[in-house]
C-alpha cells in the first residue's frame, strides 16, 4: 500500500513526519526513511461542519493518529463515533480534489 514517508533521525532516533532538514531534537541531518505501521490509535480529533472551498460536505472527521511504530500524522477518520484512544487501521485514498486532480492521503478505519 502506498503511504506517507516518515523520517527517523540516524543520530537520536526521533521519528518525524513531515520532513525536516534538521532533526527536531538533535539537529542531526541524516535520516532513515520509514513507513508508518499498519495501524495506531487516535490522539485527538474534530468533526468539521464548515469546510473550505472545494470540499462540498459536512461532518468530515479529521484526527491525529499515533501509529504503533511511533509515526504521528493527521488523516481522515472514517468513523461516525470517534473517540480518543480508539484503534485505527490506515488506508490510502483520495482525500481532496484540487484543480480537478484527486489528492491522495491517509484514511483511517476503526479496527474491528
Amino acid at each position: 500500500m502506498k503511504t506517507i514517508t516518515a523520517y527517523k533521525c540516524k543520530n537520536c532516533g526521533l521519528v518525524m513526519y513531515p520532513h525536516h532538514y534538521r532533526c527536531l531534537n538533535c539537529n542531526g541531518r541524516e535520516f532513515k526513511e520509514m513507513s508508518p505501521s499498519s495501524g495506531g490509535k487516535l490522539v485527538t480529533y474534530t468533526v468539521i461542519d464548515q469546510l473550505p472551498w472545494g470540499i462540498d460536505e459536512r461532518g468530515r472527521v479529521l484526527g491525529v493518529v499515533q501509529f504503533d511504530n511511533g509515526v504521528k500524522a493527521l488523516g481522515l477518520i472514517q468513523s461516525e463515533n470517534p473517540r480518543i484512544g480508539m484503534k485505527l487501521k490506515a488506508d490510502w485514498g483520495p482525500v481532496r480534489v484540487i484543480g480537478g486532480e484527486k489528492i491522495m492521503g491517509l484514511i483511517f478505519h476503526p479496527t474491528r
Binding site: 490522539v43 468539521i48 491525529v64 493527521l74
Partner: protein
C-alpha cells in the same frame, strides 16, 4: 537601545467594508494614528504594513508601496510584513527595532486585512493555506479544526467545559458592546448559545467541540500606531506610552509533532521574553489583550502567558477575575471574538487598545488605573507568537 514611544494610535471600525479597498482602509487607519500623534507635516521615515494575504483576498500585492503613495509619505521606506495572523505583531516588532536601533526616528505601523472580499468558504481556504501543504492542508484542515482538536485535548486534560468557552464568548461580546470599533455589537446569553435545546440553531458546529460563538468573525479592518523617540514624543505632547517589552517565539508547523499539543510553548517563551525585557512580572499587569480567535485560546493563553497556573485559567474566568472590574481584565476591547479578526490588523489593534487603556481614553470600557498592559498575537496555530508589554508609568 533607545526607548520607543507609541505617539499615536488609530483604527477604523472593523466590519464588512465593501466600499473601501484594502489600501483605503490602511490609509484611513494610518492617518488616524498620525493625527492622534499630532505630527503635522513632520516626515515619516518608514512604514511597515502587517498583512497576511492581500494577494489571495484582494489580488493586490506590494501594498506598503501603495500605502506610502496614497498617504504621500514618499520617499519613506516601506515594507509589507507577512507572518500569518501575527503579521500585525511582526510589523510592530519591526517598527520597534527600527526606532530602538536609531535607524529611524518616526515609523508608521499599519496592520490590515480585507477578508470579506471573498465568500466564507474561500476565506476559510485562504486562511488554511498557512497549514502544512502535504501533512495538513490536503485533508481539509482549517484553523477552527486545529483549534477543535486542541480544545478536545484541553478539555480532557484540564476539565475545561463548553460552558467555560461560552463564558469567554459572553464576556467578550459584553465588552465589545462598549467598543465602537468592534464588529459584532451584540449581547449573547448562555441560553442562546449553549443551554437551550435549540441553541445549536444560533450557534451551530464549526469544528467540534467549537461552535460558531466560539470563533471570531471574518472581518475587514485596519489599525495603526506611530512609533517614535522620547524626544519627538515629548514635542507632540501625547501622554507617553512606551513599548518596554517585545518577545517572539516559534513552534512546530504541525500540531501533531508537538510532544504535548496542549503546551503552547511559543506563547510561554514569547511572553517570558517580553516580561523579562520589560522587567515586570505577569502579576504587575493591569490589562491584557489576548488572541481569542477561538474561545479556548483566551483561557489557554492566559495560563501560558503566566497570569494563571496551567489548568487554572477557567477558574479565574469563573471567578470574574478577567472581567472589566476584575483583578486582570482580559480583552476589554471585546477581543478578536467581538472586535473581529482581520488577520493582519489584529496585532496592531491589540496595541492600539492598550495605548487607549493606558492613556485613560478607553471610554466606558476603561480599566481603572491601568498603567501596564500586555498583548499577545498568536500566529498560525501557535507556531509564531508575539508578545508586548506597554507602560505609561515610565
Amino acid at each position: 537601545m533607545r526607548s520607543v514611544v507609541v505617539a499615536g494610535a488609530g483604527m477604523i471600525p472593523f466590519e464588512r467594508r465593501d466600499d473601501d479597498s484594502l489600501v483605503d482602509m490602511l490609509a484611513s487607519a494610518g492617518l488616524n494614528a498620525m493625527d492622534d500623534a499630532g505630527i503635522g507635516d513632520h516626515p515619516v521615515d518608514s512604514v511597515y504594513v502587517g498583512n497576511m494575504a492581500s494577494g489571495l483576498f484582494n489580488h493586490q500585492v506590494s501594498v506598503a508601496s501603495a500605502l506610502v503613495d496614497r498617504l504621500s509619505l514618499m520617499p519613506a521606506a516601506a515594507d509589507r510584513v507577512e507572518n500569518g495572523p501575527a503579521s500585525g505583531g511582526s510589523a510592530i516588532k519591526n517598527g520597534f527595532l527600527a526606532v530602538a536601533s536609531g535607524y529611524h526616528d518616526v515609523v508608521l505601523v499599519v496592520g490590515g486585512e480585507k477578508m470579506r472580499a471573498v465568500i466564507g468558504p474561500k476565506a476559510t481556504d485562504i486562511v488554511a493555506a498557512m497549514t502544512h501543504p502535504e501533512a495538513e492542508y490536503i485533508y481539509g484542515l482549517t484553523l477552527p479544526a486545529m483549534a477543535g482538536m486542541f480544545t478536545r485535548l484541553y478539555m480532557e486534560k484540564y476539565g475545561v467545559t463548553r460552558e467555560h468557552l461560552s463564558m469567554v464568548a459572553i464576556k467578550n461580546q459584553e465588552n465589545g458592546l462598549l467598543n465602537p470599533y468592534a464588529h459584532i455589537q451584540m449581547q449573547i446569553t448562555m441560553e442562546g448559545i449553549l443551554t437551550h435545546p435549540q441553541a445549536h440553531v444560533n450557534s451551530p458546529v464549526v469544528a467540534e467541540p467549537l461552535h460558531l460563538y466560539d470563533c471570531c468573525p471574518v472581518s475587514d479592518g485596519a489599525a495603526a500606531v506611530l512609533l517614535t523617540t522620547e524626544e519627538l514624543a515629548a514635542k507632540w505632547k501625547k501622554p507617553p506610552v512606551k513599548i518596554v517589552g517585545v518577545g517572539q517565539a516559534t513552534d512546530t508547523h504541525t500540531l501533531h509533532e508537538r510532544s504535548d499539543p496542549t503546551d503552547l510553548k511559543a506563547v510561554r517563551i514569547a511572553s517570558e521574553k517580553a516580561f523579562s525585557m520589560a522587567g515586570v512580572k505577569p502579576k504587575d499587569i493591569d490589562v491584557a489583550e489576548l488572541h481569542d480567535a477561538f474561545t479556548i485560546l483566551e483561557i489557554a493563553e492566559s495560563e501560558h502567558a503566566g497570569f494563571f497556573k496551567i489548568g487554572e485559567g477557567a477558574k479565574a474566568l469563573e471567578e470574574g477575575v478577567t472581567r472589566i472590574g476584575g483583578k486582570l481584565p482580559i480583552n476589554p476591547s471585546g477581543g478578536l471574538k467581538a472586535r473581529g479578526h482581520p488577520v493582519g490588523a489584529t496585532g496592531v489593534a491589540q496595541v492600539v487598545e492598550l495605548v487607549w487603556q493606558l492613556r485613560g481614553e478607553a471610554g466606558e470600557r476603561q480599566v481603572k488605573k491601568a498603567k501596564k498592559g500586555f498583548s499577545l498575537n498568536f500566529g498560525g496555530f501557535g507556531n509564531n507568537v508575539l508578545a508586548f508589554v506597554l507602560r505609561s508609568d515610565v
